[in-house]
Amino acid sequence: MAVEDISRAVLAFNLAGVTELVQKEIDAGTDIDTILNEALIGAMDEVGKRFSDGELYVPEMLMAAQTMKAGLALLKPHLTGDSARAKGTVVIGTVKGDLHDIGKNLVAMMLEGAGFNVVDLGVDVAAETFVQAAGDNGAGVVALSALLTTTMPAMEGTIKALQEAGLTVKIMVGGAPVTSGFADRIGAQGFSADAPGAVELARKLMAAQGGSS
């Protein structure tokens, strides 16, 4: 089946193959949501699983995500407003004082690969910027990253700011020094040690929000 061919092409990191096959399905009139959910997002779920099993490594996960995004770009003009927002919006960034973005970028790509609308604020992001972006974009989840033990307290400050602004967003945290114990202490709703775990967590938190923002 052609939808399965698209999945196989994503798992083979075959960017040209994915664009060609996705275009062919669009032209053939295949349901856009089917291409998105079963072919592209389904393939990225499999990538996440293989990564967690130790079979795939980070550069391969990224290459798969890039391949998936090439297919997604072709679908975007055909997505109705509903399906574009159906999975919800995640605002993501590295907290104030921290310039590390590799892990954050990886999580952002995997979230996009899972079909979320991702607003990436970059690095060294002030608490008020998170508050503003979460409100403006109607985010269901805010994801905070920190690599330095010295910037971990900025996570707590950002969470406070989000709560004080009265936003009902769920907050997830991650980064090398971050632990689930720390996440609990600072009032985050979730922690993930790796990117596929972050996708699962975002799905869970988004579902708790009622599926969308």
Binding site: P59, E60, L62, Q66, L99, I102, N105, L106, A176, T179
Partner: protein, 481 residues
């Protein structure tokens, strides 16, 4: 690894000093070889022989002529052609312990080895890509001589399809089993047996009649011979490492010259199981750094003679899987590879000063071999592609530059990086969440998985029956003793 990049400790001048001293020892002291046939062969080739005292002294030109006949390498055939290996210095081929009495099983219990352990150890060897030569690892206590050799040989041939070594006793029986296996193989050249013999001279400078007789049998059948002296520096050899290397080289050459007299051009390996003698505990510690110096010296002398070398590697004097076990195993494994040894026995899994085989350690040493091989590979090819200036330019300087998404990274990272299978790289909290498994526990799980699932390629039925018949005859003979 390129031959000019091998780890060396001796300068070229020192290699020649060791060689000159060795020739002097062979000429002035000679070897005590209590086997009349051996002495006659050596006398016929120019040695000065005292038949009454069983001593052969080797004139330098006799030794030099024999060295000239050494081949630079040979093929060690396995019954499965995919497992056939070249012994020529181009790669370090690993095996496991040999002749331990105890095992430390997957349950962590230290106990005497039983025949079943030898079969399982052979199956692990068969399953692990870094293990090239089969070994049972153990001598089950109480198994009488005669039966022991039949058991070793049958187990190696039947519980693994990898290369097999010939034990130093009951040589006719070993040769017969090897012949039966050879007859099932299409890939062996006419008359060639899938076997390399393991011989250990005694120190200082002697051997015993039976082992010498066996050595003649192997040589006449064209079976290459690995000759590994075991000098205990300070006890059965000089206390200085240089002196131990001289005596060891004399013991090796004295036997290798004999082999060349019997079968000119037969493959030989210069091996070592020497170390310093521990002056408090009265043991020969294989984990000692001096053993590693002797290992490098052995490989350098072997290269001087244009032949492959054998080391120990992975052996430890620790009694349990602890940091000492890891440190000693890593050191000798890395050194064997860096020095360029061709064959390593007393290897993966060894503990308790050669007396124990740890199942988990076989797996952990297999990982250490991976790490060591990666280190020895160094930079690999250095060219425009690996120097990577194009991709460095592509990413540029400063944030948000990163290489993870570059196709260059995608296409190189797997071949560039050692990927641990058992060693832990999780941060503490993640590691804890994942079940806080140590490398040892991961190894134990992998042992259980392999032993539950791995079945070596069986021998053809008829050959298996013939080998079983030889084994059962040995069993019967042992009972009637």
């Amino acid at each position: 690894m390129a031959p000019d990049r091998h780890l060396t400790l001796l300068s070229e001048e020192e290699v020649e000093q060791i060689h000159a001293a060795t020739l002097q020892v062979l000429e002035e002291v000679g070897l005590w070889l209590p086997n009349r046939e051996v002495l006659e062969i050596l006398e016929g080739a120019g040695a000065e022989v005292d038949f009454e005292k069983h001593v052969a002294r080797y004139p330098a030109d006799m030794v030099t002529a024999a060295i000239g006949r050494f081949p630079d390498g040979f093929t060690w055939y396995a019954r499965n052609p995919d497992h056939t290996i070249r012994i020529d210095g181009s790669r370090t081929h690993f095996s496991m312990p040999d002749s331990a009495l105890n095992v430390i099983g997957p349950d962590g219990k230290h106990r005497p080895g039983v025949p079943r352990d030898g079969e399982d150890i052979c199956r692990l060897c068969d399953a692990l890509p870094n293990m090239a030569v089969a070994s049972t690892g153990i001598n089950p206590p109480d198994m009488p001589g005669g039966l022991l050799e039949a058991w070793h040989t049958r187990t190696m041939f039947c519980s693994s399809s990898k290369a097999v070594f010939g034990v130093s006793r009951e040589v006719d029986m070993v040769l017969e089993m090897a012949r039966i296996v050879a007859d099932t193989c299409d890939h062996l050249p006419e008359g060639v047996l899938p076997l390399v013999a393991i011989m250990n001279p005694f120190s200082p400078l002697y051997n015993e009649a039976d082992q010498l007789a066996g050595m003649l049998k192997y040589a006449r059948k064209g079976v290459p011979i690995s000759i590994s002296p075991e000098v205990q520096a300070g006890a059965t050899g000089p206390a200085t490492v240089a002196g131990a290397l001289v005596q060891q080289t004399a013991e090796f050459l004295g036997h290798a010259v004999l082999v060349q007299c019997v079968q000119p051009g037969l493959g030989v390996i210069y091996g070592t199981v020497s170390s310093v003698f521990d002056m408090k505990k009265m043991i020969l510690p294989y984990g000692a750094p001096e053993a590693d110096i002797l290992a490098v010296g052995t490989v350098q002398m072997a290269r001087r003679y244009g032949i492959p070398a054998r080391n120990t590697g992975g052996s430890s004097d620790a009694n349990v899987l602890d940091m000492q076990a890891g440190a000693e195993a890593m050191m000798s494994t890395l050194i064997a590879i860096l020095a360029g040894a061709s064959f390593v026995l007393h290897g993966a899994g060894e503990l308790e000063n050669t007396m124990a085989v740890s199942y988990e350690k076989i797996l952990l040493d297999d990982e250490i071999i991976d790490m060591s091989r990666r280190f020895a590979r160094g930079l690999g090819v250095v060219d425009a592609e690996t120097l990577a200036v194009d991709v460095i330019k592509q990413v540029g300087c400063g944030p948000p530059g990163q290489f993870l998404q570059q196709p260059h990274t995608f296409s190189h990272f797997r071949s560039e990086q050692f990927m641990p299978r058992l060693f832990v790289r999780d941060m503490y909290s993640n590691w804890e969440k994942a079940g806080r498994q140590t490398a040892e526990q991961r190894a134990a799980a992998e042992v259980e998985r392999i032993l539950a699932t791995h079945r070596p390629e069986p021998l053809p039925d008829a050959a298996q029956k013939e080998i079983d018949a030889i084994y059962h005859a040995a069993e019967k003979a042992a009972l009637n003793k």
